[in-house]
């Protein structure tokens, strides 16, 4: 019955090693090992050969089209303008962030795009998380109307493409808003116009530079408290730094004031704001991923044992307290890894910005590639940067996850 024979030691079906007869198995073992090593080498050789052949073909194709491969274009002046975004430049005191202008290089143009990508990613992540947790909790609500609103929101968002949502927010919502002059809301604290969304924002006053010393001192005291250890000392340090901050206020006065946006006929001064492109991208990404966050939250809440609800009720907590104090904190451990994946997807999805003309990294790359003809070099750079962004988000989430798991395991 040759078909029942074991073919090699590698695929032995049983966990325990059979007792070897002296001499022979040793040779068999080393033979199998040699064969495995040979296969390994062969596979490796095939993969390397395939990759090399692929690169060779691309190289030949580039030569055929007379383009070649070079990164020299990065140092050349860009000669085009980017509507918003900061880039890195040599300032009087080392490298600083400055607005991009057309005299700067292609590399600096890509950096301005990267800056825009990161800003949109960060704000969208915060918006999606806050909105998503609310909707996710809403889906578990005992109120029938709220529950169904949350359900309809999630279904509508998840079953339609993100790109059409971005385009809808931009062309059908933001660009349909009134002009700057008639767009003032909330007594001037918010201007929602087709030239952009502007809102009141704290601005530094003359006292700020003096107050900065107090902030520095407070941070130092807190850091010392954290380093020294014991929870008690840490608490003392935090109280002390809070006192320093309060004392500073008494000495210097408020370090910042709330500044209202002031609209003139074509521009806005004061406050803070977003261009219509950035605003619609942030809203679209935030709202879209809120639906996915909501599903993650709902799944996590449902995975928590019913006994937890019952125990909370037995302790006399109401439905809302049980949810926010007992169940949700436990659900966080289930939520965090999935949330990390969603954050990576948000960062990647900012590349749809090119559809509405927002100068994110991919969109700036489009212009650079068109002007220089270095499409391949550019896209490799862009892909590597996206890879780094994704990996850093995963790393941060993993770090946080480890902390959460440790806390839970106590």
């Amino acid at each position: 019955m040759s078909q029942f024979k074991l073919s090699s030691t590698e695929s032995r079906p049983f966990g325990s090693t059979p007792v070897p007869a002296s001499g022979a198995p040793l040779r068999l073992r080393s033979g199998a090992r040699a064969r495995a090593a040979a296969i390994q080498t062969l596979i490796l050789a095939v993969i390397v050969a395939a990759v090399l052949a692929f690169v060779g073909l691309i190289w030949a194709g580039l030569q055929r089209h007379g383009i070649g491969f070079s990164l020299d274009f990065l140092d050349q002046p860009a000669g085009f303008n980017i509507s918003e975004g900061l880039t890195v430049a040599q300032g009087p005191h080392g490298l600083t962030l400055v607005p991009f202008n057309s005299q700067q290089t292609y590399a600096q143009a890509l950096l301005a795009g990267l800056y825009n990508t990161l800003v949109v990613t960060l704000i969208s992540i915060v918006l999606a998380t806050v909105l998503g947790v609310l909707v996710g909790v809403g889906r578990m609500s005992r109120n029938w109307v709220v529950k169904n609103w949350a359900w309809a929101f999630v279904e509508l968002i998840r079953n339609t493409p993100l790109l059409i949502q971005i385009i809808f927010w931009y062309f059908a919502v933001l660009l349909q808003m009134p002009g700057l002059a008639d767009a003032s809301l909330l007594h001037g604290a918010l201007i929602a116009s087709r030239q952009g969304v502007f809102f009141a924002w704290p601005a530094a006053t003359a006292a700020a530079s003096h107050y900065a010393w107090f902030v520095g001192l407070a941070v130092a005291v807190s850091a010392l408290g954290v380093l020294v250890g014991t929870p008690r000392r840490r608490r003392v340090a935090f109280v002390a730094s809070a006192a320093i901050l309060a004392l500073g206020l008494a000495f210097t006065g408020w370090p910042f004031s709330i500044e209202m946006p002031e609209a003139s006929s074509f521009s806005v001064s004061g406050g803070a704001g977003f261009s219509p492109e950035m605003a619609s991208l942030i809203i679209a990404l935030g709202v879209n991923f809120a639906a996915y966050v909501a599903e993650v939250v709902r799944g996590a809440l449902q995975s928590i044992d019913k006994g937890q609800w019952e125990a909370a009720a037995a302790l006399g907590l109401g439905h809302r307290e049980s949810l926010w104090v007992v169940v949700l904190p436990q659900a966080v451990r289930v939520i965090v890894p999935s949330l990390g994946n969603l954050y990576v997807t948000i960062a990647k999805s900012t590349s749809f910005a090119i559809a509405i003309g927002f100068p994110d990294m991919f969109s700036v790359y489009g212009t650079v590639g068109n002007q220089t003809g270095r499409a391949l070099e550019g896209i490799l750079i862009v892909m590597v940067v996206y890879l780094l962004i994704s990996l850093s988000i995963s790393a941060i989430v993993n770090l946080y996850n480890r902390r959460v798991m440790k806390k839970g395991a106590r």
Partner: protein
């Protein structure tokens, strides 16, 4: 125990003071929003814009003298889609579906007779989908070779459409077709990657892991654009690769990585005893993987794979980056015409509704399969 309206209201709307407050705010708000939407849809929207541009929305810039090809392709895709839905639902009410299909067919014939050619086409496709759904619900054994049927069907449809010029394909037809092609091609690649990642050879594992993690870390738009740039460089100059193939290659590369992760989770879910049993029966490594492990693994991850298809369908508009006219781009083309630029809400609502209908059907199917499997696996 029948619940009276009063008790239902008290229990679901006014259970606590905070719930009552929420209800008092949200019910009038819901009614008001519903009223506004209904008033707009019934009295102020110009739906004629959608009817006038249905050709562009459904098939893009397809040459109109060869439109029968597009119609046949739509019919074929509807039949395949309907059959698959029927296999998922296995509804007892298949007669109802068949009657609905027949009624739709009659309406389609009437609108064809009254020269609403495109409405007739759309309704005819729906009719075919309903009838196909009824047929496979009634005779589920037809579905044995559904995978093969999809492969042959999509191949035949591509061959049917090709003479009109691949660069002229567009609209909703292109969106659905790209979804089908990319799914069919990315699944085998994904399965191979999943097995490679679980292989006992470290070099295979490394290569597969590297590929999957790389592709999952870059945006789809990047991958599509990259493949669009690369393909003409790799092929000899006398070979002309249409833009569509250059873009779809990016979709396949991208979604293969995601499919691989789902399949891998399925493979890891298959009990070790299964492969050990296969080995002790003398199966070769290949037979063990493909006859014993893979079918069980795939069965477990079908809902996730269907979710992947929905994701793909929702991301097909990314084709705009290489200038193809998919459904969304077709809608924007219509709005670029000054004559229709005032009717953007009608066009957007129509597109949202179409996407929502197809997307909800797919995700409903995924939920049904999931529900059925959790019943089976006690």
């Amino acid at each position: 125990m029948a619940m009276t309206i009063g008790r239902w209201t008290r229990h679901n709307l006014f259970a606590s003071p905070s719930s009552s407050l929420l209800s008092l705010v949200s019910i009038p708000l819901t009614l008001y929003v519903g009223f506004l939407i209904a008033r707009w849809a019934l009295f102020s929207a110009h739906w004629a814009v959608v009817a006038d541009n249905l050709a562009v929305l459904l098939v893009g810039t397809f040459p109109l003298e060869q439109v029968w090809r597009a119609m046949l392709a739509g019919a074929g895709l509807s039949a395949l889609f309907g059959m698959t839905i029927g296999l998922v639902l296995l509804t007892q009410r298949w007669k109802g579906y068949a009657i609905a299909g027949a009624v739709l067919a009659v309406v389609a014939a009437v609108s064809y007779a009254t020269h609403f050619q495109w409405i007739a086409g759309a309704l005819g496709c729906l009719a075919i989908a309903f009838c196909a759904c009824a047929a496979t619900s009634r005779w589920p054994r037809v579905g044995r070779g559904m995978g093969l049927l999809w492969l042959l069907g999509v191949g035949a449809i591509c061959a049917l459409l090709a003479p009109a010029g691949v660069d002229r394909w567009g609209g909703l037809l292109l969106s659905v077709l790209v979804t089908a092609i990319a799914t069919l091609l990315s699944l085998p690649v994904g399965i191979a990657l999943a097995f490679a990642r679980n292989s006992r050879f470290a070099s295979l594992r490394l290569a597969s892991t590297g590929y999957i993690e790389l592709l999952r870390s870059v945006p789809l738009v990047c991958t599509v654009y990259w493949s669009w740039i690369i393909i003409p460089l790799v092929f000899p100059p006398q070979v002309h690769i249409p833009d569509l193939a250059r873009g779809v290659a990016g979709f396949v590369l991208f979604y293969a990585a995601y499919a691989a992760e789902y399949v891998r989770s399925g493979i890891q879910g298959v009990p070790r005893g299964q492969s050990e049993a296969a080995q002790s029966l003398g199966f070769s490594a290949l037979d063990e993987s493909f006859i014993v492990v893979l079918p069980q693994a795939l069965r477990a991850v079908i809902p996730a794979l269907v979710g992947n298809v929905l994701d793909l369908f929702n991301n097909v508009p990314a084709l705009f980056i290489i200038g193809l006219t998919d459904f969304l781009k077709a809608g924007q083309t219509v709005l670029a015409n000054p004559q229709y630029s005032g009717s953007q809400y009608e066009i957007y609502v129509f597109m949202f509704a179409a996407y929502l209908a197809i997307g909800s059907l797919i995700s409903y199917g995924a939920r049904r399969i999931e529900g059925k499997m959790s019943q089976g696996a006690r």
